[in-house]
């Protein structure tokens, strides 16, 4: 179950959502688990000349074409080292598969909806556009990323 209704200690009923967490540079982010199809280790990516910068290319996932999106580039983070390990979080969005290239994939965490705060106004505008909320955890902040909004950032207009 990706979403469940549990009684919180206060006795109030609170919906909660599970997130696949992943790291980009020092920041942990999460995507709702029901959007994630699978997680892949680095795969051969076919470059597409003239494609937008963050579109790393296509990868072949058992005969299906997956568009690889380098989230570091989308979120304007420094380019990772050539030898750095890459993980792919494959999401299904409107019938199309996308692989989000990230630095590390963490646990699946369950977060009650009322613990998700709005993103702070001081956040970088690009990050604000991509993320819908922020969760304070003991281990640090977790940004909730919207697949729709991230892809919208990269989608060519027209």
């Amino acid at each position: 179950m990706s979403s469940a209704t549990l009684a919180s200690p206060s006795g109030r009923v609170s919906a909660q959502l599970e997130y696949v967490t992943f790291r980009l540079a020092d920041q942990w982010l999460g995507i709702p688990v029901m959007m994630v199809q699978e997680v892949l280790v680095a795969m051969r990516i076919a470059r597409v000349p003239m494609a937008p910068d963050a579109i790393a290319g296509f990868l072949n996932l058992r005969g299906q074409i997956v568009t690889a999106v380098d989230l570091r580039k989308t979120l304007r983070l420094p380019v990772r080292d050539a030898e750095a390990e890459i993980m792919n979080v494959v999401v299904l969005h409107e019938g199309e598969l996308f692989a989000f290239m990230v630095d590390e994939v963490g646990d699946v965490v369950s977060v009650a909806n009322d613990l998700v705060d709005p993103t702070p106004a001081t956040l970088d505008p690009r990050w604000r556009a991509a993320c819908t909320g922020i969760v304070r955890r003991d281990r640090g902040l977790l940004l909730v990323m919207s697949v729709l909004e991230v892809l919208r950032l990269e989608q060519p207009s027209g």
Partner: protein, 774 residues
């Protein structure tokens, strides 16, 4: 939706599609009883089922039409255009009700009384004979029942409680008709129709047994899966090929064979005869002919030619549009045709055939043709091209403007066509499926439209090429030829205004280096590269790549939203070794590189640019090798070296005279020799320098006084010449030089008719001193 209703809609729509055609055919061949029976059966089936389903409005119309058809069958009425028109109107009405049924699941409101009355009037006109349906005939065994109008022949009241009353008689009628057919002894004259109908239905049922209705989504899924299977097969084949003595070799081979067969079989399930896209055309032509007072026959060949259903759908509208154009703009009215000495009736031939991996569709009419000068004028008026450029463009190129958005030469906008919408859509639709459309026309003789489309979109044959270390696939359909350019041949590449051209058999082929187009880094490599000559519409260009690998059948996959906007790609595919590679789109590349026009708005600009470029190439920009010679005129004469076959010197003794011509035995044939100067005495020089020209299968020698030089020069005609045989005067090597018209001499040497003004040219052969022929 109710299953019963859905089945009824599917079946009826299928039958009605055929019906239009059948009825138009019937109008032309009234004696075709089999067809008449078919039409009757279809309408009857619809009527019967309507009864079950309580569709009273539909039933009323179907019943009235059925009555008329029955009277036709019985010979009580004869086929005539108005009657057929009314039957078609009834079918249209049925179609519109069916459409509404599909949309809303309920019969739409509407009053068909007028239509039904019109149909019934025909029955009144049959001279007292009553309007029985065969179903009624079952009830009224005695045919003498006067003008019986049983329940079913009137539109039944629409109240719900009246419906069972409608249903019941039809059910009863069916049961009785079955009983009647099995009881042959009871079959009187009025049973006849029922009997035949029974046979027909069983035949139809037999055909239905051997076919199965399968959802398109199932077929598409199947196609995808087989595509994947083929990719897996390709991978296995590569693995097996790399391993020596692999125990897998045999099973892999077997798998390969089966996969290929399976692929073919699945492709076949998606194939439909092109005739399915033609069913509406005879009706369209008939209605058009009727409303415009023209006589038009539509002749269709190759309706059984199979096409992928996806492509079939894509070409349906363009085809309909072009047929309509041919009928409306092409074929003239009978009096105009008579005045032009043509038969009253015009003919439109529509044909389809397989040609290589493609289907070629041709639409040929014998109408007025397209007036190229009018197109030229319109194009200039609309600012699509400059007047001088337009004048220099050949007619074939001028006709391409017809595919411009909003272009129409119709003086009169009819309700059918002439609004200038359409031909641009036609071309963009056909472009979209990787097809091409060509148009040619002879004024007064007719127009031919030739459409070439791929058999299928899902799996295409593609050439794999490599540039800067990346691989790409180029669809085979766009490729004309491959040229390998070695280091020594680099001189064949010329640069004009920053665009590279390759001299390919005396034409200049604009080059598009793929590496620069895609912004790839240069790979250190050899100086040898390859040119993939691509054809987009009528334009050709050369795609420059490093390597050419092999041809493969590839499964086309869409590229997804992130790069869909990139015109250079038509899709992507997965190769045998599991790599993803991009499929290049020659049409898109042509647009980006501006070497040919595409459906973009600035097409006109680009077309004009291309024409200007061509003109410029002809006149100023390219250096040509020019042969200079002296023919006894004050100025030197010049001819482009490309037109010269050979330079020879003939001894006087080899010049023979026969039939008023000087001839020389040259390479086993007699070649006429004429003087470049009318006043030249061919025998005054020994040996005589001769320039040999040839054109198709004609060869001639042009006698000159002296060959002077071969120079590289821009040939620009400064002024046109008054003397026949001279194209004009150009400055070559710093001197005014006459450029000769080789065609003039060729025609003259072969005694072909020349214009009156060419009289001078006739002189050389007559004016010569004529010693006895050898």
């Amino acid at each position: 939706m109710d299953d019963l209703l859905r089945d009824f809609l599917t079946e009826s729509n299928e039958n009605l599609g055929k019906l239009d055609n059948d009825i138009v055919e019937l109008e032309q061949h009234p004696e075709d009883t089999a067809r008449l029976n078919g039409v009757f059966r279809t309408i009857h089936t619809i009527k019967g089922t309507c009864g079950f389903l309580g569709l009273v409005r539909l039933e009323g119309v179907a019943h009235a039409a059925e009555n008329v058809l029955d009277a036709l069958r019985a010979g009580r009425l004869t086929v005539e255009p108005e009657l057929i028109g009314d039957v078609l109107a009834a079918i249209d009405c049925i179609k519109s009700v069916l459409q509404a049924l599909e949309d809303t699941e309920a019969e739409p409101e509407g009053d068909d009384a007028a239509l039904i009355q019109r149909l019934e009037q025909w029955l009144g006109a049959e001279g007292g004979a009553h309007a029985n349906t065969p179903a009624d005939g079952v009830f009224a065994i005695t045919p003498s029942v006067p003008a019986a109008t049983p329940v079913a022949s009137r539109p039944a009241p629409t109240t719900a409680d009246a419906q069972p009353a409608v249903v019941a008689p039809v059910v009863a009628a069916r049961e009785q008709s079955v009983a009647a057919t099995s009881d042959s002894s009871g079959a009187g004259s009025s049973w006849d129709g029922v009997d035949r109908r029974g046979k027909g239905e069983s035949a139809a049922a037999h055909v239905a047994d051997s076919t199965l209705r399968v959802g398109v989504d199932v077929l598409d899924k199947l196609m995808n899966l087989v595509g994947e299977l083929a990719l897996g097969r390709n991978q296995l084949l590569q693995l097996a090929a790399n391993a020596d003595e692999s125990p897998f070799a045999k099973p892999v081979q077997q798998l390969d064979r089966v996969t290929t067969d399976l692929l073919e079989a699945v492709m076949k399930t998606r194939m439909q005869p092109i005739g399915n896209a033609w069913t509406k055309l005879p009706r369209l032509i008939r209605d058009l002919a009727q409303s415009s007072g023209k006589q038009i026959t539509l002749v269709m060949h190759g309706a059984e030619t199979d096409l992928d259903r996806q492509i079939l759908q894509a070409i349906q509208d363009p085809l309909t549009h072009m047929i309509r154009n041919s009928a409306d703009h092409g074929v003239e009215t009978p009096d105009v045709r008579r005045a032009a000495g043509k038969p009253d009736g015009g003919t439109i031939h529509l044909s389809a055939r397989h040609e290589g991996g493609h289907v070629v569709i041709e639409i040929v009419d014998d109408g007025a043709g397209i007036n190229a000068s009018r197109v030229r004028r319109k194009a200039v008026e609309r600012g699509l091209v400059k007047a001088d450029v337009a004048d220099a463009m050949p007619d074939a190129q001028i006709l391409r403007f017809i595919f411009e958005p909003g272009f129409s030469t119709a003086e009169q906008v009819t309700n059918v066509s002439g609004r200038g919408v359409g031909m641009d859509v036609v071309r963009s639709n056909i472009d979209a499926i990787g097809g091409t459309v060509e148009l040619s026309s002879q004024p007064g003789r007719g127009t031919t439209v030739r459409i070439k489309i791929p058999l299928t979109l899902a799996i295409i044959s593609a050439l794999l090429v490599g540039t800067a270390g990346e691989s790409f696939a180029v669809p085979q359909i766009g490729i004309v030829e491959l040229v390998r350019v070695t280091e020594e041949q680099h001189t064949l590449v010329e640069t004009v205004h920053g665009t590279q051209f390759y001299r390919l058999r005396e034409t200049l082929l604009p080059l598009v280096p793929l590496r620069a187009l895609l912004g790839l880094e240069a790979a250190a490599g050899s100086d040898t590269y390859n040119i993939v000559v691509c054809q987009v519409g009528e334009a050709r260009f050369g795609l420059v790549v490093d390597d050419v690998f092999d041809t493969q059948e590839i499964v086309v996959k869409p590229v997804g939203r992130m790069i869909k906007h990139l015109q250079a790609y038509a899709g992507c595919t997965i190769t045998g070794d599991g790599r993803v590679i991009m499929i290049l789109d020659p049409a898109g590349i042509a647009t980006i590189a501006q070497v040919a026009s595409n459906e973009t708005r600035d097409e006109a600009e680009q077309a004009a640019l291309a024409a200007e470029r061509a003109l410029a190439a002809l006149q100023t920009d390219t250096k040509e090798s020019v042969l200079l010679f002296d023919a006894g005129y004050p100025a030197l004469q010049a001819v482009p070296l490309s037109l010269v076959a050979r330079l020879e010197e003939f001894p006087l003794s080899s010049l023979e005279e026969a039939d008023g011509h000087f001839l020389v035995q040259y390479r086993g044939a007699l070649m006429p020799v004429i003087g470049a100067n009318a006043a030249m005495n061919l025998r005054a020089m020994d040996p005589r320098p001769v320039i040999v020209f040839s054109d198709r299968n004609r060869t001639m020698g042009l006698a000159v006084n002296e060959i002077r030089d071969i120079v590289e020069e821009h040939v620009e005609l400064q002024r046109r010449a008054a003397r026949p045989g001279v194209l004009g005067v150009s400055v070559i090597a710093g001197r005014a030089t006459e450029v000769i018209d080789t065609d003039h001499f060729l025609r003259h040497a072969h005694g072909e008719s020349l214009a009156v003004s060419d009289g001078v040219a006739a002189v050389p052969t007559i004016d010569l001193p004529t010693p006895a022929a050898a």
